[in-house]
């Protein structure tokens, strides 16, 4: 078989993803979704053909239809999956020191989908699939996606 040759010359290049301007419909959908946070409400977008409720809203359904009806879903739900992550730095995705975050996947009651958020106020040992959680709303939600990103154990 082949012997390894000496190291060859490496030539640098890059793929400048920064130049891409992706489009997403959700700009319009999100405005509505985020506005509801100001009243501490979570909305879902329902598909007229199959009835699935998407939270956050999605402009297309798996059944090849366009979800269009806004419904309210609960701000309480169940954890379907989780992990613990270290503190990450954006540039190199390096695992750093710092507080471990508990990331949970939550399916809110009334929604048919799961979204990822952070669990606060619980010890890692308490976390498990099936645990009930509730969104911990900020005092005065500003209508940003961060408003729904933190949950706590629901008693």
């Amino acid at each position: 078989m082949n012997e390894y040759k000496e190291e060859t010359t490496s030539i640098k290049g890059n793929w400048p993803l920064i130049h891409y301007r992706w489009k997403s419909e959700t700009v319009k959908l999100m405005a509505n979704f985020l506005e509801a946070f100001k009243e501490k409400k979570v909305l879902g977008l329902k598909c007229p053909c199959c009835g699935l409720v998407y939270t956050p809203p999605k402009p297309f359904c798996r059944c090849l239809c366009r979800p269009e009806e806004w419904v309210e879903v609960s701000d309480e739900g169940v954890v379907t999956t989780f992990t613990f992550s270290g503190a990450w730095s954006f540039e190199g995705m390096l695992e750093g020191e710092g507080e471990s975050r508990i990331i949970v996947g939550v399916k809110l009651d009334g929604a048919d989908t799961m979204f990822l958020c952070m669990l606060e106020g619980s010890d890692p040992e308490e976390v498990n699939v099936g645990m009930r959680v509730r969104i911990r709303w900020p005092e005065a939600p500003e209508g940003k996606i961060g408003d729904m990103m933190i949950v706590e154990r629901a008693t």
């Binding site: 078989m1 993803l17 992706w22 999605k58 992550s85 995705m93 990822l116 996606i145």
Partner: protein, 407 residues
């Protein structure tokens, strides 16, 4: 349908950094090995089917520049790329090219030169377009990143929900890793070879992202694989024991987990993997296999992480749901067991992403042809199942191979 068979396989050496060759040369190693294996030459080949995952090398359509090295000159060529399932999708393309009757012999090529790029950044390019809009809506970037699962990605979520539903423990994960790395030590083309490694040693490795430790994760590999696939008629003239590809199926689910379009129902429980069950069921039906747990002799699921080997064993219908940890404990998955899993060492030992799903098929073919050398399983191999997985947890490819054509 024209019968389809694998007559030859070529693999390059798989290591973490092939800085001595460029993409075209790396692939040439595998292609020329395949020709040597069969005694054929490009003149005998009707078409070239090729693929890789282009984010790593930073080259768009690398065959435009490189395929001259691979005997593709003036030949029909088709490029298929589907992320982690690429290698399997390329085999599917080759399968249909022959099964359609249009070609009698094709070469399927899949590769990845991960060292040309940055693997973590390359994997991030999968999600960037979905994450970018989230930042517009005021999502905290550090929180978003911490949800990404780091180098592990969304598999961490699959692992925790699987462990809950199946009773799989971290000790099972350690055993899977040890089994695979030990198998890999018998495979000259595997990357991470750790003969005699114990589960206890795996358990001591650094925690990457709960619940997966470094020892439970795949490496980043440079490697290429080529397979020569022909009609059943032609196969008989080339080799005494062709490995017939009885069926190829795929089943794509909703994109899951991250980003704006992560709101699919498929990820409510990321370990459900409905698509895999459907694809496997159809593959067995087409292949005439009624009870895969008895009739499949060897399985090569695509499992870059230890939990996935057990999860996909179940999703490939080789045992009932939740049953894989017990099957592992019974010893049946080991090289000398009743239904060996990843005798090659699997993706957890060697992961040149574009090639990995093809190598699952190649390894099954080698087991059927009796050409797996030191990692040949003890039992006789009549039927095998190869699998690929990837995408936003949503892409699946399955192939069933056997020592006879589809009945």
């Amino acid at each position: 349908m024209q019968d389809v068979a694998v007559v030859g396989i070529g693999l390059s050496k798989h290591v973490s950094k092939r800085r001595d060759v460029n993409i075209a040369e790396l692939v040439y190693e595998a292609v020329s090995a395949a020709y040597e294996d069969t005694g054929l030459s490009p003149h005998d080949i009707g078409a070239v089917i090729t693929g890789n995952m282009p984010a790593f090398e930073g080259v768009n359509l690398p065959e435009l520049w490189g395929a001259g090295h691979w005997g593709a000159y003036n030949k029909p060529l088709l490029r298929i790329t589907t992320g982690g399932t690429t290698g399997g999708s390329v085999v599917h393309g080759a399968f249909y090219a022959v099964a359609s009757g249009i070609f009698d012999a094709v070469i399927a090529i899949a590769f990845e030169k991960q060292s040309d790029g940055d693997t973590t950044m390359g994997l991030n390019t999968v999600a960037l377009a979905d994450i970018a809009p989230m930042l517009l809506y005021g999502a905290d970037p550090t929180l978003l990143i911490s949800m990404g699962g780091g180098a592990i990605g969304a598999v961490a979520y699959q692992a925790t929900s699987y462990m809950k539903s199946s009773g799989c423990t971290t000790h099972h994960l350690d055993k899977v890793a040890a089994m695979c790395r030990d198998n890999a030590a018998k495979n000259p083309y595997a990357h991470l070879q750790q003969p005699g490694i114990t589960p206890e040693e795996v358990a001591k490795t650094k925690m990457m992202e709960y619940p997966l430790r470094f020892g439970h994760c795949c490496p980043a590999t440079d490697g290429a694989c080529a397979m020569i696939i022909t009609s059943g008629e032609k196969a008989k003239k080339i080799t005494d024991c062709p490995a017939y590809i009885k069926s190829c199926t795929s089943c794509s689910d909703e994109g899951a987990v991250f980003g704006l379009y992560g709101g699919g129902t498929a990820n409510v429980d990321p370990c459900e993997q409905e698509g895999c069950k459907i694809a496997a069921k159809k593959a067995y039906e087409l292949a005439g296999i009624k009870d895969p747990s008895r009739e499949i002799d060897v399985a090569e699921p695509y499992a870059p992480f230890a939990n996935q080997l057990l999860m996909f064993y179940e999703r490939l219908l080789l045992c009932e749901e939740g049953g894989a940890p017990a099957v592992l404990d019974s010893g049946s998955m080991y090289l000398d067991g009743d239904l060996p899993v990843c005798p090659s060492g699997g993706v957890i030992s060697t992961n040149a992403i574009g090639a990995s799903a093809m190598e699952r098929v190649a390894e099954c073919a080698m087991q059927i042809m009796g050409k797996a050398g030191e990692h040949q399983v003890k039992k006789e191999v009549h039927n095998a199942v190869a699998h690929g997985w990837g995408g936003a947890l949503n892409l699946i490819v399955v192939a069933v191979l056997g020592d006879t054509p589809r009945g």
